[in-house]
């Protein structure tokens, strides 16, 4: 049995190594416009835009005369992300005399600009019916106040970098969460995700958008991947505060109260399929089930455990029943859950490994606890030593006896305790 285990481990390690090499040498995904996929902000936060313009920030910001607020006049007073901060004709006209078709208001001309051909100098793209293509810039799914940041003298370039070296600003010039966290990581408001994210019911982050489902980035250390249902234990316990940003306690209870079987975790027919995973305790059953309540209750009722009263003896003629067993017919066809010799203490029984149940119990006593109650083990072990070698001299014995000596009284009397491990 060890060879398949070793082979499996080697296969897994080689696969991981190969993937790791690929990780290092792989080319980035490319959106087609020269933008690295991993560097673009989430389209769920900043939806995809269509900006059919020709514009050069580098030319406009060259020198000291033009500042961001020159064109984005409403930025300093904007308090919501839904505010439209794109400059319009009114903001462009002080420098560029625009001959606008009626009913657009006329502007004072310092330099005459041509007709539609002049419009095309800014409104690029394929016009339809002599009309420029419409701008499409859905509002960000965020709460943001430019006014607060401006009042605190946060420079535009802090969140919108490299504007002086680009032409048309796109979503790539919008801040990613890593930029925001550079200031907001651990402030008084930093722990409240809905300070910036749109809120859903219960004060959690809204995660459902027409563009898809918002999931946390791996950069936050709380990845949501294919294995999340069975693999989120460490992530949630180390980052519970972050988890609460999206998840309500009610969502956790829905799985972790052992009342409703989560379909994503347990496949169909899990009642009949869980033996292997339970023997290995992988996944950890105690994450959702209390062994001495949930597991023993079902095992006892279904005749699996050692409580003979629930084995279902019948008197008289056999009942009409629907048997699910493949083996059938004669009574006593049902073998014990454990093989013969399971609890033998003589070390040699029918050629099987000595003290069979001892080895299994030592390896994973949780599997025993899911069926047996304390008393069923104590009935034998009151006369058969349950402790490992060296127990009396161990720190474990002394610690347990010191902190909770009454459990020792199940087998030992008070006088023994005085000379037992406590006396050492």
């Amino acid at each position: 049995m060890r060879r398949p285990v070793v082979v499996t481990m080697l296969v897994g390690m080689l696969t991981a190594a190969g993937i790791g090499l690929d990780l290092v040498s792989a080319a980035d995904d490319d959106t087609g416009d020269g933008v690295q996929q991993s560097e673009s902000p989430s389209p769920l936060i900043f939806p995809i835009q269509s900006l059919p313009f020709s514009f050069s920030h580098s030319r406009h910001l060259a020198g000291e005369q033009t500042k961001c607020q020159t064109c984005h006049v409403r930025a300093d007073t904007s308090t919501r992300s839904t505010d439209r901060l794109f400059p319009g004709h009114r903001e462009c006209s002080p420098c560029h005399h625009l001959a606008l078709p009626s009913p657009q208001p006329n502007v004072t001309e310092r330099r005459t600009v041509g007709s539609s051909s002049a419009c095309r100098s800014c409104h690029s793209g394929n016009w339809e019916d002599d009309s420029p293509n419409a701008l499409s810039a859905p509002p960000a799914n965020l709460k943001f106040s430019h006014r607060i940041h401006s009042a605190r003298r946060v420079e535009c370039q802090r969140c919108h970098p490299n504007l002086a070296s680009i032409g048309l600003a796109t979503r790539m010039q919008l801040p990613k969460m890593s930029v925001c966290r550079g200031c907001h990581e651990q402030t008084a408001d930093g722990t409240r995700c809905t300070s910036c994210h749109l809120a859903a019911a219960g004060g959690t982050i809204r995660v459902s958008f027409p563009q898809g489902l918002l999931v946390p980035s791996a950069a936050l250390g709380i990845r949501h991947d294919l294995d999340y249902h069975s693999g989120h234990r460490r992530l949630t316990r180390s980052n519970e505060r972050l988890c609460r940003g999206c998840h309500r306690r009610e969502q956790c209870v829905r799985c972790h109260d052992s009342r409703l079987k989560p379909m994503a975790l347990h496949p169909a027919g899990y009642v009949g399929l869980h033996q292997v995973e339970a023997r290995r305790n992988d996944p950890d059953c105690s994450a959702c089930h209390r062994l001495q309540s949930f597991c023993t209750g079902c095992h006892t009722r279904s005749g699996v455990s050692s409580d003979e009263r629930t084995f279902g003896k019948q008197k008289g003629t056999p009942e009409q029943s629907t048997s699910t067993k493949k083996q059938g017919g004669s009574p006593l066809h049902r073998s014990s859950f454990h093989p013969e010799g399971w609890s033998s203490t003589d070390g040699k029984t029918n050629g099987r490994s000595p003290v069979l149940h001892a080895r299994q119990a030592r390896a994973n006593i949780r599997s025993c606890v899911s069926c047996h109650r304390e008393q069923s083990c104590a009935e034998c072990h009151i006369s058969v030593r349950p402790h490992p070698p060296g127990w009396e001299r161990s720190s474990e014995c002394r610690s347990l006896a010191k902190r909770n000596g009454r459990v020792c009284l199940r087998c030992h009397d008070s006088a023994f305790l005085a000379t037992g491990c406590i006396g050492h």
């Binding site: 294995d227 972790h256 209390r290 029943s321």
Partner: protein, 547 residues
């Protein structure tokens, strides 16, 4: 003072609750709503609340593997009703601009979830005939022979119900009531108070101090309406014993009185977090309970004894702009005088891909009142490698692969180094597995997943595959399904070896604003069941008044 002029319409749902439980639920909800409204200021009246209700009915069968005679199928019928009430921003304005949020003195919230469950059908309410002696047969209700069934037959739980004040004076969080929290190692459920104080944020590291105290929620606790799910494991509600002074030994008792004892719990923690995302936490917890009268010898020390006591340390760092994340955590059980939980590892993520490696150690530990602590049990240790591609709106296919190996050490006391390092093959057992999966995006409305796995070693063999899909149809209707096929081999249970097939299918249908019906079917075919159809129906209500 009364709150704003808002009409609150409580969602209605059908219920099979008996009269006493229904009144209890109504009292709890009325009290919760009254507390929330009573705390509302007259001048700032933009709190928000939502009420959700879920009525769940389940039906399936469980095989009763009788030792004598043919097996029977027991009908299991379960009904569960949950009611959740959340009120937040009680003292603050409604969610709006960031500037408005600054004006709230602190956040005041109420969060609660109550649950009623009822088991009927032959599984819980049937009778069991047994033979206590030759030629003598008795018949008793199943719940009398299996007291654990009583936990769900008529069960009312207050899962959590607490009032929380956050950012009091800008740095203090307080929670009062029945709480459900987690630390680095386990879930905690207690009735009491929890405090967290954060030091001023101008430090490069933010420090916080936590303390909590109260009574552990137990299945048989005197606090009532408590679930045993998060109670320390290892002690049962049946096969109870008590010391008989006359005979001088433990004899069967009708009730496990020790489990009824109150279990105070307290804990403290100190944590530090950097702006870059690194964190460290040192914690201490202890729970204890008095000896139940008449259960233990009178000559023994009475008074309180420890049920659990531990020291915990955890740390995680975020380096290379969040791409490299090492972590470690360890818990020292003061009861067992050993490290009972530990893990360490690192994840490397870049370009939407993550590779991680983790070592972990787990030693079974139980309530210190449990005999299972004294048995010669050993820890198991894991090595896990995983790779996954981060799902994103721009990636159509995401892949995941993982491999793990687990070593079960036979005993923890007196073992040599070889056993501790899982090198002593005579005293250790091993198992391992690999899993490969892929997620395919089906536009923005759904996805399909394929997983293939193989696991072998200690515990048995199972290999198989799962194919699952989830798709959102029109007007919020969703459909999901999962088909699974598995080959398994269970040690010493040759009759269970073989192939199993299963399918799960169902979905959610919105009926009206805030009302949805979910239906799932679960059918399997295998060695134990030729057919085991499970039906689950759930009626969800959600109400959030317009503000």
């Amino acid at each position: 003072m009364p709150g704003p002029h808002q009409r609150l319409a409580f969602a209605r749902s059908t219920s099979c609750a008996v009269g006493r439980s229904r009144r209890a639920v109504k009292r709890a909800v009325t009290l919760a709503a009254g507390v929330a409204l009573a705390l509302t200021s007259r001048t700032v009246q933009a709190y928000e609340l939502d009420i959700s209700s879920s009525s769940v009915g389940q039906g399936y069968q469980v095989s009763w593997q009788r030792r004598h005679g043919s097996d029977l199928l027991l009908d299991r019928r379960r009904f569960q009703q949950t009611l959740a009430l959340s009120v937040w921003d009680i003292l603050g304005p409604s969610e709006g601009s960031q500037e408005d949020a600054k004006k709230a003195p602190f956040d005041l919230e109420w969060d609660s979830l109550v649950r009623f469950s009822h088991d009927f059908g032959s599984y819980a309410t049937g009778d069991i005939m047994y033979q206590p002696g030759p030629g003598h047969f008795d018949t008793e209700p199943a719940v009398a022979l299996v007291p654990e069934l009583g936990d769900e037959q008529y069960d009312f739980d207050v899962v959590y119900a607490f009032l929380a004040a956050r950012r009091v004076w800008g740095f203090l969080d307080v929670q009062l009531g029945r709480q459900l929290d987690s630390d680095d190692f386990e879930l905690l459920s207690y009735d009491g108070i929890g405090l967290q104080a954060r030091l001023p944020t101008r430090l490069p590291w933010m420090l916080s101090f936590e303390v909590h105290g109260g009574l552990t929620v137990r299945g048989g606790s005197p606090q009532d309406a408590g679930s045993s799910v998060n109670e320390p494991d290892g002690v049962s509600s049946s096969e109870c014993v008590a010391f008989d002074e006359g005979i001088g030994r433990f004899l069967p008792a009708p009730h496990c009185y020790q489990r009824d004892q109150p279990m105070p719990a307290l804990g403290v923690a100190l944590s530090a977090a950097s702006r870059a995302g690194s964190e460290a936490r040192l914690s201490y917890r202890r729970s204890f309970s008095p000896a139940a009268p008449g259960v233990y010898p009178s000559s023994s020390r009475s008074g309180y004894a420890t049920n659990a006591e531990s020291l915990g340390l955890s740390a995680q760092a975020s380096t290379l702009a969040g791409k490299l994340r090492p972590f470690l955590a360890a818990r020292w059980s003061l009861v067992l005088a050993e490290i009972d939980e530990a893990r360490a590892g690192v994840s490397l993520g870049t370009r939407g891909q993550v590779v991680s490696v983790e070592l972990s150690h787990s030693l079974p530990g139980f309530d210190a009142d449990s005999l299972f602590n004294v048995f010669a049990g050993g820890p198991y240790r894991d090595l896990r490698l995983s790779y996954y591609q981060e799902p994103s709106p721009l990636r159509i296919v995401s892949i995941r692969a993982s491999a793990w190996a687990r070593c079960f050490a036979a005993a923890s006391v007196g073992s040599g180094l070889g056993s501790a390092l899982c090198l002593d093959l005579d005293s250790t057992a091993m198992s391992a597995g690999v899993t490969v999966g892929a997620l395919l995006k089906l536009t923005t409305k759904g996805n399909a997943r394929l997983t293939v796995y193989y696991e072998d070693g200690f515990g048995g063999l199972q290999a198989g595959s799962d194919l699952a899909a989830r798709y959102r149809l029109w007007r919020g209707t969703t459909f999901e399904a999962r088909a699974s096929a598995m080959w398994h081999r269970v040690p010493w249970r040759a009759e269970l070896d073989g192939a199993s097939f299963g399918i799960q299918a169902g979905g959610s249908i919105p009926i009206a604003q805030g009302v949805a019906f979910r239906l799932f079917l679960d059918e399997s075919l295998g060695a134990l069941y030729k057919s085991n159809l499970q039906i689950l129906g759930c009626l969800d209500f959600f109400f959030r008044p317009e503000t």
